[in-house]
Symmetry: C2
Subunit: 256 residues, 2 copies
DNA sequence: CGTTGTGAACGGATTCACAGCC
DNA sequence: GGCTGTGAATCCGTTCACAACG
C-alpha cells in the first residue's frame, strides 16, 4: 500500500509561494490584535512593523492573495483578517487529535492559540492505560486502542504527535492508515509517510543547537575584534528584523 | 573550490550558509543513531535518507565544513559526529535557563534532547511564588526575583521563554539586561531585542495553520468544485477572537 | 499627495552533472 | 566501480524602485 504517486511539484502552478504561506499566520495575528483595538485600516509599513517583517515583503505577499488594499490609504483590517483566514482555511472547523499526553501533549491541549483559531481538540490519546479517563484541559484522555475509531468518527484529518521518539513512527502509521493527511510532529524523529501526507516538524533541541552555533560564533568574534565600539551597542531596540534562517522547516512529504 | 584571491562577498559570515546550519542538527541526530548501532561508515545517500534530505544537498552542506569524506567509501560516522558537534558548538557546555514553568516549561525541562547535547538546564524560573522550591525534572523552581543573579552566577547566555504571551517581552528584557544573548521564544509574541541578540521562535499554532492551508488545498483539489465562496460576510470575525491571538516573530540571525 | 501593487534586479539555496579520487 | 566534492545551471525568495491610482 501507499506507493508512488508522482512527486508533487513543490509549489502548485497558480499557488501561493510557501514562504508567503508561512508568513500569513504572522500577519493574521498582528491584524487580529489591531482588530481588537478597533483600528480600521493599516498601512503596509505599520503592519509590517507589527509582524516583524519589511513592508515590501508584506506587500508582495499580499499581492499573491489579490488586490485587497487601497492606494493612498492602506488595508482594511477586518477585510484582511477575513481574507487571510479564508486563505488559510481557518473559516472552517478543523478537528485535531493529540497523541501522547505527557507534559508536552498537555501543554498543547491547554494552548489557547489552537482553540481560538478554528482548531478544535477532538481527542487526546495516550498509550498509558492509567491516563485513560483522566481529564486534561477538560478533555478526557482516551486509550490508543481507540485511535482509529476516534479519527473516523470525528473526521479528523490533522494529527499532532507528542509521543516519545520511539513511538512516533508507529503512531504516525496508524494515524495515516486511519485517514489523517496532515501531521505536526514534535518527536525528534524523521517520519516516513506516503505521498500526499504533509508532515511538519517542530524540534526543540534543533532550535537550541542553531542558537548555540551563533552563540559560539559571537564568542569567537569578540576575541578577534577587541577594538569594537564601546560597551553595549546602542539602546536601539529594533525589532528583530532579521529573518530567521531558512525557517526551521523541512516542508513535508517524505520519500517512500 | 575557491582558494583564490577572489574576495568574498560582503557579509563576513565566515563560511557556512544559514540553511546549512539549520540542517546540521538533523545530520547529527542521524549520525548519532548510526553511531549507537556501531555503524562505522555511511554514504551520502544513506545518511541523506536517514535525515530526510537529498544526497546532493547533504554533500554540498558537508563541503562547507571541509572534506571529511572518502571518495568511493563514504563518511566516517564517529569523525563526522565530532566535526559537526564542534561546528555547532556542542563540545562545550551551555547552561540555559527556562522561564515559565507551566506545562510547556516542564516539558522542556524534562526533554532529554537538551541534556544529551551539551545543554544543561541551569535553572527553572517562574513568577508564581507557589512554585518556588518545587522540583520539576529534579530541579527546584526559583522565583523570578532571582533571575538576574542566576544568570550572572551561572554565566548563562541562552534563555528559553515559555511564559504566557503577556509576560514574554518583559522577561526577555530582563534576560537581555542580565547578559543573555540568545533566546528561544515559545510565547506567541514578536520580541524586540537589541542588536547582537539572537531570537528564534517556535510557534505551535503557526505550524498548525500552515498545515490547515495545505489540507484545505487537498480537499479543494479532490472536489475541484465550486471556487471560493463569493460575498464577504459582514463584520467577519473568524472565531472567538478571545484573548491572545497567536502571533509569531521573525527571529534574528546575526548582530549588525 | 500617500500608498499600493509589481516588473526587474539581485542574491541565496537547491539541484544537476561530472570531474576527481579512492 | 563507487562515491565524494564542486562548478554551473536553475529555482525561489527578497529587495528595489517606480508606475498606477485612490
Amino acid at each position: 500500500m501507499a506507493t508512488g504517486r508522482t512527486h508533487r511539484p513543490a509549489t502548485r502552478s497558480r499557488g501561493i509561494p510557501e514562504a508567503t504561506v508561512a508568513r500569513l499566520p504572522l500577519y493574521l495575528r498582528a491584524l487580529t490584535a489591531l482588530s481588537e483595538r478597533s483600528v480600521p485600516t493599516v498601512s503596509s509599513e505599520e503592519l509590517a512593523a507589527a509582524a516583524g517583517v519589511n513592508s515590501a515583503k508584506l506587500r508582495k505577499d499580499f499581492s499573491y492573495l489579490g488586490s485587497y488594499g487601497t492606494r493612498g490609504v492602506g488595508y482594511d483590517v477586518e477585510y484582511l483578517v477575513y481574507q487571510i483566514s479564508r486563505e488559510l482555511g481557518l473559516t472552517q472547523d478543523w478537528p485535531v487529535v493529540i497523541v501522547g499526553i505527557g507534559n508536552l501533549g498537555a501543554a498543547l491541549a491547554n494552548y489557547g492559540g489552537f482553540a481560538s483559531r478554528g482548531f478544535r481538540v477532538a481527542a487526546l490519546i495516550d498509550a498509558d492505560p492509567a491516563m485513560a479517563g483522566k481529564p486534561v484541559a477538560g478533555i478526557p484522555v482516551q486509550h490508543t486502542d481507540e485511535l482509529e475509531s476516534i479519527i473516523q468518527d470525528n473526521g479528523v484529518s490533522i494529527g499532532v504527535i507528542a509521543t516519545p521518539a520511539g513511538a512516533a513512527q508507529q503512531v504516525c502509521d496508524r494515524l495515516v492508515a486511519a485517514g489523517v493527511t496532515s501531521i505536526l510532529n514534535f518527536a525528534p524523529t524523521v517520519l516516513s509517510v506516503p505521498d500526499g501526507v504533509d508532515v511538519r516538524k517542530v524540534d526543540l533541541s534543533i532550535e537550541l543547537q542553531i542558537l548555540a552555533f551563533h552563540e559560539q560564533r559571537k564568542a569567537g568574534e569578540e576575541a578577534t575584534a577587541t577594538a569594537e565600539s564601546p560597551a553595549v551597542p546602542t539602546a536601539t531596540r529594533t525589532e528583530s528584523a532579521t529573518d530567521q534562517g531558512p525557517d526551521g522547516d523541512v516542508p513535508a512529504v517524505m520519500p517512500a
